[in-house]
Point group: C2
Chain length 658, copies 2
C-alpha cells in the first residue's frame, strides 16, 4: 500500500509561512526566517514523501523527520497542526513560546506530537539523525525489512554544517552507507552575524561527496526540482544531501534574504507587507478550510500503509516480541544473571580495575539481553566495552551489536541519543572520562530528553598515571554531577560496578555516566543479597562502640579510606567508612537514611578529584582529601603519593579533626 | 640570511626512532608508533625547513611546530634533544613520563623548550595552530612582514582529522586563506581499535580541497617527496595539507603497520629486532657523536636568520613597542579609563543587561589598548562583543581586530588559545553560556596552560526567556567553577561588569569566563573607588544593629536579594546582602575577610542555577533559592515566578530560617 503523493502549491507552503510569522509576532520572539525559507521544501516532503500517519505519531515504522535547525521550530509546529497531529491545535500555535505550552522556543521531545527529538544546539539534530538511521538498520537486521523500512530526513542549516559535530556525523554516515538518511540543507547563505561569506568558504557539496554522500542542488522554491531531488535521494544507495538554495524569510519583502529575517519578529508593518506579497489575505492563525483540508489529507496519506504494516506485523507472528523490544525493559532480563555474578565476585574477591569489572558485567548483560548496543570512540581496548560475540557493525552488516564510532566522542553521544530515541535499544558507549568534555553537549541532551543512554567513562582519575594532566580528569565528576537528571556512578569494586550497570539499565528516563578506574581495586567485603549501590551510599564499616569519624569515599578511593580506617583503629580512633557510588541516588534517599549513613561524627571526604560539590556531604567542619589542581604525568602510585591521597593523609586529616 | 637546509638520511631519522622506542621501553608506557612512523617527515621538516634557532626557543619570529597528535610526544622530545634546545638533556628523555620530569606523557606547554602548546586531546592542536597562524597575520599587519613572517606547521593523525573540531579549524583556515599554515597528516591508516577502515571512509584530500586547501600526497618515508611537498606547500598561497603515507611503528619488524605499535612499549624482543632491522647498533639513549653533531648543526641553522631578524627589529625603531606588545600588560592601559567609566556608571545608574554593560566596557577597553582581539561564534549581535571601529578580520585583511568565528564554539576557543600562545594579544570571544559545553575541551586547555583567554558567555540563565531549556544554562556555572585555574565572573550590574573585565585582562595566567545576562539589571548603589569584585564577594548592605540573616547572590539575582532584604526589613528582620561575582577570587581571600563577609547569621544563597557547589558558602543550615532541574520556554519574568526565584521566595526562605 503506497503513500499517494499530493501536489504542493505555493499557497500550501504559504500556510506555513503565515503561521510562522503570526506566531512569532504574537509571542514577540522567535525565528521566522527559516520556516518561511524552507516552507516549500518541507511542504513537498510532508505532502509527497514522508511516510507517516498523523493519527498515530508513534507508528514504529514511520519516517523520522528531524529539525536540526531547531530555532525554526515554527516550521514543525505549523506542519504538525496542518497535517492534524492529535492534540496540536491552533491554540497551541497561538501560545508559541509561552510557559507551559507544547510549542516551546525550540522543539522539545515529548512536548508536541511529531517532535522526534529536542533540537536547538546546532549540529546535534543531524548527528542524532545519524543515530536514528543506524537504529533503523539495526532494527531491520533483527525484525526484517518487511517490518522496518523507513527513511530519516533531517533539515539542517548553515550553522549545523559549520559545527564540528556535523563532520563526525557526516563521516560516520558516509562510512556506514546509511542510504536512508536524507539531509535537506537550508542553503540560504545567511547566518546571525550576516552573510555566511563572513566565516565560511567550504564547498559543502564537495565536502559531503568526499565523505561518500550523494549530493544534489536544487532551487528550494521550485517544487518540481525539490520533488525530483527527494525521489533521487531515496533511490540512491548512499546517504543523500540536497542543497536547497533558499531565501531566508521568503515572502517578507523588506527582510527576506537578510539576517534581520532570522531571529526576531518581522514587526506589524512587515507582516502586513508579507501578507500582501504572498497574496495571503487571511487573518492571523486563520487557514482557509480547503487549504487545511488538503493538508489534513496529507496527514491521512499514510494511513493505508500504516494499516498494511500492522497486518504484516500480525502476520509475522512476532508482534509480541517486537512490542516487548520497543518497551526496552532490560532490567528484568539482567537482574538474575547479575545477582549470580555478584555472588561469584563476593566469593572470588578478584582485584580488578573497574573498567575490567565493567567488561565482565557487560559480558553477563550482553548475554542476557539483545537490546544493548555497545561501542567506543576508538578506545575499545581501553574502555573494555566489547564482549564476546557482539559482532561489529559495518557498512553492509547491521546484525552486529558493536559500533566502532571512531575518534568522535560528540558524534557517538549524539548517535546514542538517536538510537535511544528510535526506540527499544539500550545504547552504551565508551571514552575516557576526561573526554566527556567533548561529548558534553550531547550528554546534556540525553539528560534533558530523559533518555537511557549509558556513558562508559574509564581512566577516571590521576590513577591513569603517565598520560598526564591532559588525560586526567579532576573536575569532570563535579561537572557531570552538576547536570540535572544524570546519574553519575563511581563504583569502588567489581560488585558495585555490576550494581551500577544494573541501575543504569533500569533507569529508563535517566542517562548514566559510569566513572571507571584504569587501576586495579580490591573487592570489598560486603553483602551481595541487595543492590547496595541503589541507595547511592551505604556504610561499609560501622565501628562498634560508635563513630569518632566518618570517612566518605567513592570509587578507587574507597580502598584508601578502608586502609585509613585501619590506621585509625591502631590509634584507637573508631572510623566508619561509607562508599558513595552515586551522589544523585543518595540525595534521593529519605532524610533518615541519609542521616544514618552520614552520622553525626566529623567527616572526611576522599576522592581523587576536586572538592567542588562535596561540601554538601562534609558539613561545615568536614575536610576533604583530593585534588585541588590539575594532575601530573607519572606512575599512578607516585601520583597518589605526590598529591597526598593516601591512607596516611586520610588518617591524619581524620585525627586532626578529633 | 637564509636557513641553509641540511640533507636528511634514514640514519638521522632513526635517531628519533631509537630514542622513542628506548624511552617508551624504559618508562614502561607511552606511544612508540607515531614517532617511529613520522620520524622521516619530521626530520626533513626540522633539518631543511623549520625556521628556528635552538639557542633561543622563544625567538618571536620562529616557525611554530605543533604536535597535534600529542600522544607521539617522544617525537618532539627526541627532536628537542637532537637539535639541542637548552635544558633538554638525555637524562630528561630517560625520565620520560616520570613525575617531575620535563617529558610528560603528552607535551605540556612550559615544561620543555620547543613545546608551543599542550596537546593530547585530539584535534585541538590543529585548531590551536589555526589560531597561531591567524596571530601571525594579525601581528604582521601591525608590525610588518619584515618582522613577522613565519610558518605554522602542525602534525596531525587520523584521530585529529576524525574529531569534529578539525572541521571547524579546516573550514576557518581555508576561509581566511592562512597560506602559512602547513598540516602534515600522518596517514598511517591505523587507529586504536584497528584499521581506520573500521570507522571512516572520508577522502581527506577531497575534504581539505573542499575547504580551499592546497593538498598533496607523499610517501612519508621518501625524503625527496617530503622535501618537494613542503617546498610546494610553502609556495602555495592556500593553507596546505600534505598527506604523508606512513607505516606506524616503522622499523619494528613484527609490529609496524599494526595498532599494536601505537600505544604500548614494543617489548625487549621487538626493540632488539627493531635495532636489527634499522641497522641501529647503539645502546639505548646513545646517539653517535657525528649523527648528533649533524642534528646540532640543524639546531644552529637558523642562528644567522635570527641575528638578522634582531638587526631588523633594532633598525625598525619599534623594538621597545614590540617587546611591550609581547608582554601583553594590558591592565595598566585600561585601568584609568575603566575607573572613569565606573564613576560615570555610578553617577548615571543605567539599567542594562550585563551583556550590554560588557559592550560598553569593551568600548572603553578597546579604545585604551590595541592588544584585544575580539570575536564571536556567530552571535555578535547577541553577545555584544564588537565595538566601534574594530574592523572585521577577513581573508586578505588582518589589520582588523574582530573575528567572525562562525558557528564554531570549540574552534573559536581553541583558536583563541593559539592566539594567546602566539604572544601579546588578549583574545576574547563570545557565545551563549549554554554553549560553553561545546567549547569545554578548549576552555580546559586555556586553564591548564595558564592562558589569558576571555570567554564572554551571555544569556546566562532562565532570564534569557523564550528560547527554552536547550538554551538556558542551569549547570554551567557549576561546571565552569569546578575547573581549576578558571575565574568565573558573574557580575550583578554595569559597574561589576567593568570590574570583572579589568580583572580578566589583568589575570595573565588565568582564563576568565564572564557570565552575562540577557535581561536588564539596575546599577547597584555602592562605592566605585575600589574594584570590589577583586575580592570575589563583598557586602552590599550591612544592616545596622547586626545581621539576622545573610543573603548571598550573584549576577542577575543580586537585585532580587536586595529586594528581598527590603521585604525582610518590613518584617523587622535585618538582612545583609552580599554580591559574589567570583567564587574563585573570594576563596582566595584571607579567612578573616571571608568570615566577615559571610557572617555568622544563617545564610540564603540565590542564583538562577543549580545548588551544586554552593554548600561551601551556605554552611550546614543554609538554604538555597535557585534551580533544581532544567528550565522552560516562556518570558523571563514568568520563568522567575514559575521557578520561585523571586524576592518573596527569598524573603520567605530567610524568614523560615530565623
Amino acid at each position: 500500500m503506497s503513500n499517494q503523493p499530493l501536489e504542493t502549491s505555493r499557497e500550501d507552503a504559504n500556510a506555513i509561512r503565515a503561521l510562522a510569522m503570526d506566531a512569532v509576532e504574537k509571542s514577540k520572539s522567535g525565528h521566522p526566517g527559516m520556516p518561511m525559507g524552507m516552507a516549500d521544501v518541507a511542504s513537498v516532503l510532508f505532502r509527497s514523501f514522508l511516510k507517516f500517519d498523523a493519527a498515530d505519531p508513534h507508528w514504529p515504522d514511520r519516517d523520522r523527520f528531524v529539525l536540526s535547525a531547531g530555532h525554526g521550530s515554527m516550521l514543525i509546529y505549523a506542519l504538525g497542526y496542518l497535517v492534524g497531529y492529535p492534540g496540536l491545535d491552533i491554540e497551541d500555535l497561538k501560545n508559541f513560546r509561552q510557559l507551559g505550552s507544547k510549542t516551546a522556543g525550540h522543539p522539545e521531545y515529548g512536548h508536541a506530537p511529531g517532535i522526534e527529538t529536542t533540537t536547538g544546539p546546532l549540529g546535534q539534530g543531524l548527528a542524532m539523525a545519524v543515530g536514528m538511521a543506524m537504529a533503523e538498520r539495526l532494527q531491520a537486521a533483527r525484525f526484517g525489512d518487511d517490518l522496518i523500512d523507513h527513511f530519516t530526513y533531517v533539515l539542517a542549516g548553515d550553522g549545523c554544517l559549520m559545527e564540528g559535530v556535523s563532520h563526525e556525523a557526516i563521516d560516520l554516515a558516509g562510512h556506514l552507507r546509511l542510504g536512508k538518511l536524507i539531509l535537506l540543507w537550508d542553503d540560504n547563505e545567511i547566518s546571525i552575524d550576516g552573510p555566511t561569506s563572513l566565516s565560511t568558504s567550504t564547498d559543502q557539496a564537495a565536502r559531503f561527496a568526499a565523505s561518500g554522500w550523494h549530493v544534489q542542488k536544487v532551487d528550494g522554491h521550485d517544487f518540481a526540482q525539490i520533488t525530483q531531488a527527494i525521489a533521487a535521494a531515496k533511490a540512491d544507495p548512499r546517504p543523500s544531501m540536497i542543497a536547497c538554495k533558499t531565501i531566508i524569510g521568503f515572502g517578507a519583502p523588506n527582510k527576506q534574504g537578510k539576517e534581520s529575517a532570522h531571529g526576531a519578529p518581522l514587526g506589524p508593518a512587515e507582516v502586513a507587507a508579507s501578507r500582501e506579497a504572498l497574496g495571503w489575505g487571511h487573518h492571523p492563525f486563520e487557514i482557509p478550510a480547503p487549504l487545511l483540508e488538503g493538508w489534513r489529507t496529507a496527514g491521512r496519506r499514510g494511513a493505508p500503509a500504516h494499516a498494511d504494516w500492522r497486518r504484516r506485523l500480525e502476520a509475522s507472528g512476532r508482534r509480541g516480541e517486537f512490542e516487548e523490544f520497543l518497551k526496552g525493559d532490560v532490567a528484568a532480563d539482567v537482574a538474575g544473571p547479575l545477582a549470580t555474578f555478584r555472588e561469584e565476585l563476593a566469593r572470588d574477591k578478584p582485584k580488578l580495575a573497574t573498567r575490567k569489572s565493567s567488561e565482565m558485567a557487560l559480558g553477563v548483560i550482553n548475554g542476557a539481553t539483545g537490546a544493548t548496543i555497545g561501542g567506543s570512540a576508538d578506545l575499545t581496548h581501553s574502555n573494555y566495552t566489547i564482549t564476546k560475540g557482539m559482532g561489529s557493525v559495518g557498512p553492509e552488516s547491521f546484525s552486529g551489536r558493536y559500533i566502532h564510532y571512531g575518534v568522535r566522542e560528540f558524534g557517538m553521544a549524539a548517535a546514542m541519543n538517536g538510537i535511544a530515541l528510535h526506540g527499544g535499544f539500550a545504547p552504551y558507549g565508551g571514552t575516557f572520562l576526561v573526554f566527556s568534555d567533548y561529548a558534553r553537549g550531547a550528554i546534556r541532551l540525553s539528560a534533558l530528553m530523559k533518555l537511557r543512554v549509558i556513558y562508559v567513562l574509564t581512566h577516571d582519575s590521576i590513577g591513569l598515571g603517565e598520560d598526564g594532566p591532559t588525560h586526567q580528569p579532576v573536575e569532570h565528576l563535579a561537572s557531570l554531577r552538576a547536570l540535572p537528571n544524570l546519574n553519575v556512578f563511581r563504583p569502588a569494586d567489581a560488585i558495585e560496578t555490576a550494581e551500577c550497570w544494573e541501575l543504569a539499565l533500569a533507569a529508563k528516563e535517566t542517562p548514566s555516566a559510569l566513572s571507571l578506574s584504569r587501576q586495579n581495586l580490591p573487592t570489598l567485603d560486603r553483602p551481595v543479597n541487595e543492590n547496595l549501590s541503589a541507595r547511592g551510599a551505604y556504610v561499609l564499616i560501622e565501628p562498634s562502640g560508635g563513630r569518632d569519624v566518618t570517612l566518605l569515599a567513592t570509587g578507587s578511593e574507597v580502598a584508601i579510606a578502608l586502609e585509613a580506617a585501619r590506621l585509625l583503629d591502631v590509634l584507637g580512633k573508631r572510623a566508619a567508612v561509607v562508599s558513595m557510588p552515586s551522589f544523585e541516588l543518595f540525595a534521593a534517599q529519605p532524610a533518615e537514611y541519609r542521616a544514618q549513613v552520614l552520622g553525626s561524627a566529623p567527616r572526611v571526604g576522599v576522592e581523587a578529584a576536586v572538592r567542588f560539590g562535596w561540601d554538601r556531604w562534609l558539613g561545615e567542619n568536614g575536610v576533604f582529601v583530593g585534588m585541588s589542581d590539575f594532575g601530573a604525568s607519572g606512575p599512578a602510585e607516585a601520583l597518589y603519593e605526590h598529591f597526598n591521597i593516601t591512607p596516611q593523609t586520610v588518617a591524619q586529616a581524620a585525627a586532626a579533626l578529633l
